[in-house]
Symmetry: C3
């Protein structure tokens, strides 16, 4: 499950391309089933989305296209998998909707497999054999 | 602490019933004190809340009543407790505001007891003997 | 990375002061680099932000100035550091924008150092030697 935060002013088509590319990267490089797609987009006024724009120790510079992607994952991944995912993600977002890789920030939080119920009050384990996204 | 995400278009009464039923389920089945109630509702345009509508491996089908409930818990619970909570939650949401259990998704993230301060800069432990929600 | 949730009706100047004080407290007492500033503000209608207003076991009473601060941290901190941070935070928020400490709630979730990419698809570790905020 992902939360995507951007500044207001992007078109629905732009946001759809952003979400599509994020999901494609998760399927390609983060071991997520294609049908495990749950994404929430939050759009913000300039004074509601505060980020370091300068080129500093954490990367950048960042523009009005800055996107914060907060992912809640349902199982652990190796450092190598995470790093490959970051690279895949920025490549896909550069292709569509055309976001500069420097504008992409990712934060992953990992919860346990039994902390997910996708539907019907059923534990995720019975549906997915332990694999939440 | 819970974040509830739904599509725009629900009435305040509907949202209140949804939040009430979530809280009742947490008190009944998730070992949360009645006064520990902190809920945030996010309402979204259709292109801002993306979810798998088909009947697939993760359950469903899902409708415009889909609700994503993201809970940050303050102490570990057993798998049995979590599973009983999911069942209690979908039963209560079916009663009020009348949500199909297939439209209910839950994700829990568990943080540590010392990662909560409910008020006044005081650690939660002194208030609750270690029990955040 | 922090999410700040408040009731609608605050001015941009108020929100800026709130975010500034939060960041100052994180730099002063939570071991965060000054340039590591990423904050998202969510503003809510009264029926979208539900909190216990009474004086109860979790503190309070709470007013319309209630603020929920959800922090995703990138490395573990000691209980002592967390508790000093809570005290520093409510002191600074009382100074500016002038929030009663009883109206401040904090929840921290800690993820791993390799779960952060600040920019460019690069792992945070190469930028920050393992230290996300």
């Amino acid at each position: 499950m992902s939360r995507i935060s951007v500044l207001k002013g992007k078109s629905p088509d732009y946001l759809r391309a952003l979400a599509d590319s994020l999901h494609a990267a998760m399927v390609e490089a983060f071991n997520v089933p294609p049908t495990d797609r749950f994404q929430i987009i939050h759009q913000h006024e300039p004074h509601e989305l505060i980020f370091d724009r300068a080129y500093e120790s954490q990367g950048g510079p960042r523009s009005d296209d800055f996107v914060m992607i907060a992912i809640t994952a349902g199982k652990p991944r190796s450092t190598e998998t995470k790093q490959a995912f970051y690279r895949c993600l920025v490549r896909r977002l550069a292709e569509a909707p055309g976001i500069d890789p420097r504008d992409v920030m990712v934060v992953i939080t990992t919860s346990l497999g039994d902390e997910w119920s996708f539907s019907g009050g059923a534990p995720a384990a019975t549906l997915l054999r332990g694999a939440g996204s």
